[in-house]
């Protein structure tokens, strides 16, 4: 157990360190950054804000991590968010109960994931192309459901998911924390994690070892669809309406980014959901931090781009071999770091 903890610590160190550095930098520019207040049984503060605003990307990143671990990618999650938000709003305004609405919405997300999974696993279409179809058509479908307008609702139950609180934390935070923990536990406490990693590294060898590669692939995209459904519900509940045009717009890119920042390779294999969630928080901290520190928000994207490039360069195989070459004495240390990745 001790060694496992140590492995986790080593694996998550770069992301934790990056997050801490970013938070500290923001706190220098914005002194009240770490302040937390309790009002009406709910915590308020910038940190809570980051957790809350980052909820959709964090949720998407959970499914995206698993998909990327299988050597795939899911471009459709933003569009699926929009579809699910629209379905939720349409159901609730049509008079279905909250439970039924959630059921239908989540079912929709699962169906979208199944579609992607079938294209990838059965028709053997490259993931980036397979999910492009739903990425393009999905937003149109969402608009079809809302008929182009922002479909508002005032069902208190649904709204609670977006702006309510539980144990002092905003509901979206609770949802992504619980869901992330649940998926991470399921994946790591069962053999799923290892089988998915094996599939991502070498599909044929895994198949020859008896791994049900097809089922696993489909499951990964279905999970991604489920995550998109949850994110879509939260996004809709947050604004008390479904905005088919803007809900989840370009969030697939942020989710992919969160996974990449979390150190999971786009080439598949080793993955860490915790690291991807930290990646999502890093992205949100940059966004919120730039806003709070009074830095012109225009610089947001440039800083984001610079950070990605930095992280990617560090991760690139060429750069890594250069590092090893330059730092022979520490080569042993950096190697152990690599192995745990």
């Amino acid at each position: 157990m001790n060694t496992t903890l140590k492995t986790y610590a080593v694996r998550l160190f770069p992301q934790v360190a990056a997050l801490v550095v970013i938070l500290l930098m923001v706190s220098i520019a914005f002194p009240g950054f770490f302040r937390l207040e309790m009002q009406n049984g709910r915590l308020y503060g910038s940190l809570i804000d980051i957790l809350n605003r980052g909820a959709p990307v964090a949720l998407l990143a959970i499914g995206m991590t698993v998909v990327i671990a299988t050597k795939g990618i899911d471009l459709s999650v933003g569009a699926v968010m929009a579809i699910c938000g629209a379905v939720a709003a349409a159901c609730i305004t049509a008079g279905y109960g909250l439970a039924m609405t959630l059921l239908i919405t989540i079912g929709t997300g699962l169906l979208c994931g199944l579609w992607n999974g079938l294209l990838v696993a059965v028709l053997d279409i490259q993931p980036i192309i397979a999910t492009l179809v739903l990425m393009v058509a999905g937003r149109g479908i969402a608009q079809l459901i809302t008929e182009g307008a922002i479909l508002t609702f005032n069902d208190s139950g649904l709204i609670f998911i977006g702006s309510g609180s539980f144990l002092g934390l905003p509901m979206p935070v609770v949802i992504w924390l619980v869901f992330g923990l649940a998926v991470a536990l399921i994946v790591r406490r069962t053999a799923l994690g290892m089988l998915i990693e094996a599939l991502g590294v070498n599909r044929r060898a895994s198949m020859l070892s008896g791994v049900s590669t097809g089922v696993l692939l489909i499951a990964a995209y279905v999970l991604s669809g489920l995550c998109a459904a949850l994110a879509g519900i939260i996004a809709a509940a947050d604004i008390r309406g479904a905005d088919a045009n803007n809900a989840g717009l370009w969030l697939e890119l942020d989710a992919i980014l969160a996974v990449v920042v979390g150190g999971t390779s786009l080439l598949g294999g080793r993955f860490s959901i915790a690291a991807s969630l930290l990646g999502a928080l890093i992205i949100q901290s940059i966004n919120t931090g730039i806003l709070l520190s009074g830095f012109p928000p225009e610089f947001n994207l440039i800083i984001k781009a610079a950070i990605i490039v930095l992280i990617l360069v560090i991760q690139s195989p060429r750069a890594q071999s250069a590092f090893v070459f330059l730092s022979r004495p520490q080569a042993a240390a950096s190697k152990t770091g690599e192995e745990t990745k």
Binding site: R189, A191, M194, M207, S212
Partner: protein, 506 residues
């Protein structure tokens, strides 16, 4: 011996070392002007490594290469091309999405007014191919043509670009008789033009039909170079498959001979286009060896037995009960195991640790919901690392960092962990060092003693003889002979392959 200048290409003392294995050990090879020189050997013998050293795809670690008597050191295939050495591979290394003419002239397209002159290019392409009696639409995509035509286009390009040495790496593997004849006409014509041609193949009939001399490699070593006319087929096979036995191993055949009752029974088992239907019985505690030259259907036999390719005829039974071998997953449920020939592609999961690689098949069989606990995995890995003497600094090391022999042992461990009753080993000792080699042979014998049924495919005949109670001989994707009891000798196997090889014409 002719004077050195008559050699258009000569390589002496070529060494090539890969991490964990010496792929070429002081190999000499020479090529005369206007000769067809067959380069033979089993997979992993070092043929392609030698070719890659000659064509600059690999940097050699020692030795000299002379082209027309001058020292050369090609750093890339392009440089080798400019030195006059052209290569055509089995999997045609042209771009099937470009037109025939573009493939012939890529990078040197004729220009007019700064633009590619497509008409001129097509005209030249047609003229070039006319020399090879090929009259095709050069503006069509290469993919539109058969492999044979693609092969000729590749030869035309290689000869046009280089013009001294042409290396043909398994050019006939997927051609029919008629196409082979066409290819040979072209080879003879090029030979008359004074080119030196290196011909790599595993069809012995073709070797005798076209080659002037033969060089045989085995385990990265030169076995010998002979004039084709002076080398009987039987001797050639013996050269390729080897007769010098690792004495240590041969001394101790303990297990063989005492096969139990038949436990696994296959009848009319086969798949169209892969392997003709065959019958096979395997007893408990028996090793059945499979011998045959490369391409004879050895791996296909293994794949169909394991469900990697689904059989379309025949039945499989265990003690009278029908077996489901429709997929590897189903086969594993029937307690089958399979160590594939191509470790890197089909065997190891490179980025995962030795521990995870060992646990993979067992875990897959148990299903995802019943994970093997970390403690169990550690015990499993440690047990096999010790039992099979897998050399790794620790069990968490990514398996891709291990040497070939240790990777092979880890894959073996993966299957042993599932406690199989029927284990298929496809070339278990290929490309691994001598020490690991002997250990794996000992392991096969001890598994057999414990009552496991094994199928072992190997091109090392001494090895097969040492542990097999019976040997099946394959040719042309069919089982052609079965040797039992005292007939299981290297000579017997060589004879069976040669006899059947002599029977049919290509």
């Amino acid at each position: 011996m002719q004077p050195a200048s008559s050699y258009i290409l000569s390589a002496t003392g070529i060494d090539k070392i890969f991490p964990g294995a010496k792929a070429l050990n002081r190999v000499d090879f020479s090529l005369r002007r206007g000769e067809v020189h067959a380069l033979l050997g089993e997979n992993g013998a070092g043929k392609s490594t030698l070719v890659k050293c000659l064509t600059g795809a690999y940097r050699r670690d020692g030795g000299r290469i002379l082209v027309d008597g001058a020292d050369v050191d090609p750093q890339s295939t392009l440089e080798a091309q400019n030195l006059g050495i052209g290569t055509v591979y089995q999997e045609v290394n042209l771009l099937s999405n470009l037109t025939v003419a573009e493939n012939l002239f890529l990078g040197r397209q004729p220009k007019r007014f700064g633009l590619v002159d497509a008409r001129e290019m097509n005209r030249r392409a047609r003229a070039l191919l006319a020399e090879y009696d090929l009259d095709i639409d050069v503006t069509a995509e290469l993919a539109a043509y058969s492999v044979a035509v693609q092969q000729v286009v590749a030869i035309a390009r290689a000869v046009d670009l280089s013009g001294k040495v042409l290396i043909l790496d398994e050019p006939t593997a997927s051609l029919d008789t008629h196409e082979v004849a066409m290819l040979f006409r072209i080879v003879r014509r090029l030979k008359e033009r004074g080119l030196g041609i290196v011909f790599i193949t595993h069809f012995l009939e073709q070797v005798y039909a076209i080659s002037d001399r033969i060089t045989v490699l085995r385990n990265g070593q030169l076995v010998g170079t002979r004039e084709t006319a002076d080398l009987p087929r039987r001797d050639l096979i013996a050269m390729m498959l080897g007769r010098e036995l690792v004495q240590e191993v041969a001394g101790e055949h303990g297990a063989k001979g005492e096969a139990g009752p038949v436990r696994f029974r296959f009848r009319g088992f086969g798949r169209k286009g892969h392997i003709q239907p065959f019958d096979l019985d395997v007893g408990a505690g028996e090793v059945v060896g499979i011998a045959g030259l490369l391409g004879s259907g050895r791996t296909e036999t293994a794949e169909i037995l394991f469900g990697a390719e689904r059989a379309d005829s025949g039945t499989a039974e265990r003690d009278g009960r029908t077996l489901d071998l429709s997929s590897p997953r189903a086969a594993i449920r029937e307690k089958f195991g399979f160590c594939p020939e191509d470790r890197k592609v089909d065997g190891i999961v490179g980025d995962l640790s030795v521990r995870e690689n060992i646990a993979l098949a067992l875990q897959a069989r148990r299903g995802w919901a019943r994970p093997i606990s970390r403690g169990e995995q550690d015990r499993l890995a440690d047990h096999y690392i010790k039992a099979l003497d897998i050399r790794t600094s620790d069990r968490e090391k990514p398996i891709k960092l291990l040497s070939g022999g240790n990777q092979q042992k880890a894959i073996l461990a993966r299957w042993l962990a599932t406690n199989p009753d029927f284990l298929i080993l496809d070339e278990p000792t290929r490309g691994i060092d001598v020490g690991a080699h002997a250990e794996i042979i000992r392991l096969i014998e001890s598994l057999c003693e414990k009552g496991m049924s094994l199928i072992v495919i190997s091109s090392e005949l001494e090895e097969l003889v040492a542990y097999s109670s019976r040997v099946i001989v394959l040719r042309d994707r069919a089982h052609v002979a079965e040797l039992t009891g005292s007939a299981v000798t290297t000579d017997g196997i060589v004879e069976a392959i040669a006899a059947s090889a002599g029977r049919a014409d290509p």
